[in-house]
Symmetry: C2
Subunit: 494 residues, 2 copies
């Protein structure tokens, strides 16, 4: 009987392993499995449908009783691991998903061991995030007074950026008083190709999705600057208050990059916030050959981009940079007494990231970025960007050379929108065939492109940010599309 | 010369290790180090100041050239790892930080190997998140039609919840038209003890922080229901539109739990959204003894809580549950063509999490929660909650028994607010002494409580969600406070 028990105090128990050596052994076995899983990915199918029995197996009541960790792992290994998104596979080309790396997996292990919370306080994880933010500030040519923070991805970075833009450009204190206190309606502008996270952010911010003007694009699918100017003038004339232009550096559909230099100058002249959504395209800055496409990005008032795409770190890690660090802080800083900052001790450390965003609990996303940047070096990522863009042109050439295939949009950067074609079919029937091809590619585990609608027609879209993809994978994709297209023509349902 | 090179095509290179066996060896060494780091945490200081030279060492230009992974790891091991937040240590009691577990670290490794994106699509990671959400829906007694998703933490869950509340209760389509389109100002209510993430969310949502009424608390630091009723009536009389009450289940300062049953009934009667911020306190549901404190939580329209606190999974994992799943989806669903849902294939899988929140890129947060729930079982977490609450009373007893210490607030759940006291001092001087004690505790690596202001006075706050904490650690804290207090009295600066 312990002293505590003798004194009537309850026994105390931690969640630590009772048997550390056994835990260690299991941990090493898991690590070996995961390294095998990564190194052998190309030998598996890219994606597999979840069998109904597997899906059903998760329908179980909340676990009241404990279970051996080895058994839990076994359940994960047999039920979850075999049915992934697919994006670590060389033939995954869907939705601009990065593949991740084996090193990134280790960085996540290290981050979880430290289990840091980067909402604030004084510890090295915060310094690492500051360093990562500072590096990207420098890479994009923003001034030293710029601020930034890591987010789960560009959707969060876009929302955070527009909150800062709103606070900086509204004539009233919207944070305190709300947007209804603004005498004129606040209006933002983006091209019709803008990512869905931007209208969503406008809705969340209480500005309304309707307050985002979708400006037409030119033939190259870039925001039409003349149309933008006309829209701004019309809104001003109607008594609205234009406050922000959202340029896209790499549209999701086609990879088009808006004319950043012209838009930056226009925003300067019109006193508008210039936000750049560079989710994947901004990383082209790392390629000396492609960097000119991003000319003007250094004028951005704010910039959102992802690390889990072209930097291929594990999900999720995006970044927001804000030129005017004071405006950024002003939009979010708070002073709860229980979060009192100190000059020394664990509560010190200067500005807290909580003062620059929405999250107070913030994981150590920066570590995997820090590892990737150091291990590979930025030049290597520049070459990866070029490699994927060259692969996109290679795929486009395959498409152009095959009479059964056609391109649906010019190839910008790393995105190829194409489709199967066949004579004597209605547009609807051809759409159905292309839809069927995509589903067959997925279900047979050949490749995962995504579907895309271009000018109302069903297309097949390959977005290449995957470091494991080889030209042979793209050749396999093109050949499979032709083969499955021919097969789909014969299906009775189509 | 490869065929590609012969054909003028650039060589292709992946980010995979060139030498997998060497990579594997390094990975196992890292894993051993991290297990040692976790198992030996109690032998180290809880927190250490970052030496200026270490902080300075990160001031280096963006890395252009690659560096051996082993060297990057060595830099991490010597510069970052020794200066953590401190929360994995048994004597960390600050800011309601969970300690994490060694198993949780492995779950993060597994998640990073899969590198899933849970924005949507059809893969088992999504099913795991659905299972986790369903389990907690059941635990909290919400109906089967309720929805939910995992977030980085309660700050994000609170924001998401209030966006749903706003959409559900506004008489106009605020998502499309903005909050300015509402004919009356939308008003929310919370107690003066509400967490800072709630006013921040009101600001982000464009409702304005001023549209959050801070209702006074009663002697037990719980929202004063009579004052709430009066505030609602006054706002209605003034032409405003009350739409939401935010109750707190476990305030950050003192752990107080608002009267959820009464507030739930009031919201029902007044047609208001009833949001419960249960960041840490909601987990008391797992203890049969403490569960009655949460009576009424099953009436919540929405509920936010964290897994990285009392479930002790690694950062960050919080959860939002919404009673009316349709209202939840309505507030966020979108239909971008490039995200077109499919009936089969990788783009299938029913509802996407992207349709229920702000993030499109979403990491596999659910896996660590799934592992923790299965490995430990919910009953074990119920005992941990009770253990921490018993420890809080143990510390309070130590405080009460020592003439140099005093309690500043009643002990609710797991939080103890106390301070050093000494005769013949001005209140300001005593505040300074207590501030100094906290800093000394941190800097000497003895313990990390946080500071707290209670009724304008500086206090010391211990928040216990840490599974590694023992009564001996709390005894050490109390003794050190007395010792450092006496020492601080003699410091010339005070």
């Amino acid at each position: 009987m312990t002293k505590a028990e003798a004194g009537g105090l309850p026994p105390e128990q931690a969640l630590d392993p009772e048997d550390w050596p056994a835990f260690r052994k299991l941990a090493h076995a898991m690590l070996d499995d995961m390294i095998d899983y990564q190194s052998g990915v190309g030998e598996r199918k890219v994606w597999r449908p979840i069998p109904p029995a597997v899906r059903q197996s998760l329908h179980e009541p909340p676990p009241r009783a404990p279970q051996n960790l080895g058994l839990v792992y076994e359940r994960f290994r047999t039920l979850v691991l075999p049915y992934p998104t697919g994006n670590i596979h060389p033939r995954f080309f869907g939705w601009v998903h990065g593949a991740g790396t084996a090193s990134g997996m280790l960085a996540e292990l290290l981050a979880a061991a430290m289990n840091s919370n980067l909402g604030g306080r004084d510890h090295m994880a915060v310094e690492v995030e500051r360093q990562v933010v500072g590096w990207w500030r420098e890479i994009f040519g923003l001034p030293e007074s710029a601020s930034g923070l890591l987010t789960s991805g560009s959707a969060m970075a876009n929302l955070t950026a527009l909150a800062v833009a709103r606070a900086a450009k509204a004539p009233v204190d919207v944070r305190q008083q709300g947007v209804a206190a603004a005498p004129e309606r606040l209006i933002a502008y983006a091209s019709s190709e803008v990512h869905g996270s931007v209208p969503k952010a406008m809705g969340v911010l209480g500005l309304g999705e309707a307050a985002l003007r979708r400006v037409p694009v030119d033939a190259a699918l870039r925001l039409d600057v003349a149309a933008l100017k006309a829209a701004i003038a019309a809104d001003r004339a109607a008594g609205c208050r234009p406050f922000c232009v959202i340029a896209t550096a790499g549209t999701v559909k086609s990879g088009a990059i808006d004319d950043l230099a012209t838009l930056g100058a226009l925003c300067q002249a019109e006193d508008l916030w210039f936000h750049v959504d560079g989710a994947f395209g901004a990383l082209a800055i790392l390629s000396p050959r492609l960097k000119p496409l991003l000319e003007g990005i250094e004028q951005a008032s704010s910039l959102a981009f992802d690390f889990h795409k072209w930097l291929n770190v594990p999900y999720g890690a995006g970044c927001l940079l804000v030129r005017d660090g004071k405006a950024h802080r002003q939009a979010f800083a708070s002073t709860e007494s229980y979060l009192g900052r100190a000059s020394r001790g664990a509560a010190g450390g200067g500005d807290w990231f909580w003062d620059f965003g929405i999250e107070l609990s913030r994981p150590f996303r920066a570590l995997k970025v820090w590892f990737a940047m150091k291990e590979y070096g930025l030049d290597r990522f520049g070459r990866l960007v070029e490699q994927n863009c060259a692969q996109a042109h290679y795929l486009a050439d395959l498409v152009a050379a095959d009479p059964h295939l056609e391109l649906l949009a010019p190839v910008n950067l790393n995105i190829v929108c194409f489709r199967y074609r066949a004579g004597g079919m209605t547009p609807e029937a051809l759409d159905a065939v292309n839809q069927e091809i995509i589903l067959d590619l997925h279900e047979q585990g050949i490749a995962v492109p995504s579907g895309v609608a271009i000018a109302g027609r069903q297309g097949i879209r390959a977005a290449l940010v995957n470091h494991r993809t080889r030209r042979a994978d793209l050749k396999a994709l093109a050949e499979a599309v032709v083969r499955l297209g021919a097969a789909a023509l014969g299906k009775p349902a189509l």
